[in-house]
Symmetry: C7
């Protein structure tokens, strides 16, 4: 299924805990909140401005991003959990 | 009855659980929240901008869409439950 | 009494339960929330935009409309209960 | 005392219960919420728009108006209770 | 001390109960909320608009004004209690 | 350390109780809320407007200002307690 | 990992308690809230304005900044705790 985000939305695959720590060291389960990093799968065509034009998207497919702790909507699509974020939920790109 | 959404609204027929999982595998009832997918039945003529013009609708009849968990107004019209959403409730189109 | 809504308001006569179900089948009283449909009696001259102009009203007298569950102000005028809505309360026109 | 409302405000004398029912039939006291109708005593010079201009007032002295249930500020001026409303509190004019 | 309000602010000396009733009749203490009338001592240079210009102040020194019940900031300056309001707190001028 | 406020911020040294009463009379400790007066130490370069320009700052270093009761952020910098305000927190300048 | 903040965001390394007091005097643990100072590691390309343009960033890499008490998102990246702020969270630059 091809997921095409609308406007200012983007869809992200959340990384698992091992992927987000340099040495792959995993904390004991209790201390592990959901990782706040993910890989961008696709982006919408940007935010609608008051004058009707669109601002260009600030991320692109493949970017690794950091986002706020309780940001976005987690939705299962064909059994896979995907995270839908708005641009304003994204704090930074990790390169 | 012909349902014509106003402005930035769209009306959606929510898919049932079987329709939203690839192999049609249905979870035990307790775990089944309302599916967050639906088929667009009709769209309004778009959002009113501060300058009085309208932004073109971003979805069209027949699109399969994903939306937030508690989004929209569920209203029974002629005994059929329809979901009224705003464009900003829609996260993505599934193609 | 002639009721002339102000600006972005419209006044609606709420349909009763029988009028809103195709076969006129009425649910047992407990399940019957107030119907979310009504007939437009009159509309204001439209919403004031930031530039001082008005957007044209999106409904007209006689339209049958659907609105959100707890939308609007119910006021008795000469013993008749009328529902005052804003354009943004209206989800769709039923034709 | 001459009461001159500021900007988008208007001052209204609330009608009493008898004045708001066609046959003057008055409900038993408990059921009588404050009437939501009143007579406009005076209006301000209109709402200030983002560009610094003013939108013309939508009501005038003498108009009979309907307003939301808990709208406005009730203030005693020289022993008389007056209701100060904003234009957006007014639902319609009754003619 | 000369008190110069900033921008959209104005400073008011609240009238006492006697000053606000025509015959100077004073209600028993319990019923007496703080009077909602005062005398303007000085005004700021007006509200900043989105385009950077200022809207002219709508009140002037010496005006007698009516304001909302819990409006503004009461601050003691040199032992005198002064009430700082925004223009939007003021309902009307009494002339 | 030189403290340079950002944009619409200003930094203020709060006056102590004696400094804010004409005769220097100090109320018994319990009645003494934090004084709502202070001396401006430095100001930012003004508020960013929607068009990207800046409005000129409305206060300057050395001004004595009055502000709302719970306004601002109190932060210790090098052991000294400084109060960071926004322009909209300031009610007036005392001259 | 190179952390590139998005738009109006900036990423800061929070200073520890010793670094924020002139003589390096450290308060007993109980009184020590998290220091409200940090070093800017990198900034985004500025805030998006309603007209689609960007306002230039107000801080730069290396600046020492003061921010509000509960501001921002603290996120561990490669085991290092980084603080993501918006420009409006920053009160001043310390020079």
């Amino acid at each position: 299924m091809n997921v095409v985000p609308i406007g200012d939305n983007l869809v992200v695959k959340r990384l698992n805990a091992e992927e987000t720590t340099a040495g792959g060291i995993v904390l004991p389960d209790a201390a592990r909140e959901k990782p706040q990093q993910g890989r961008v799968l696709s982006v919408g065509d940007g935010r609608m401005l008051p004058n009707g034009k669109r601002s260009a998207p600030e991320m692109k497919e493949g970017d690794r991003v950091v986002f706020g702790n309780y940001a976005g909507n987690e939705v299962a699509i064909d059994g896979e959990s995907l995270l839908f974020l708005r641009t304003s939920d994204v704090l930074a790109i990790l390169r």
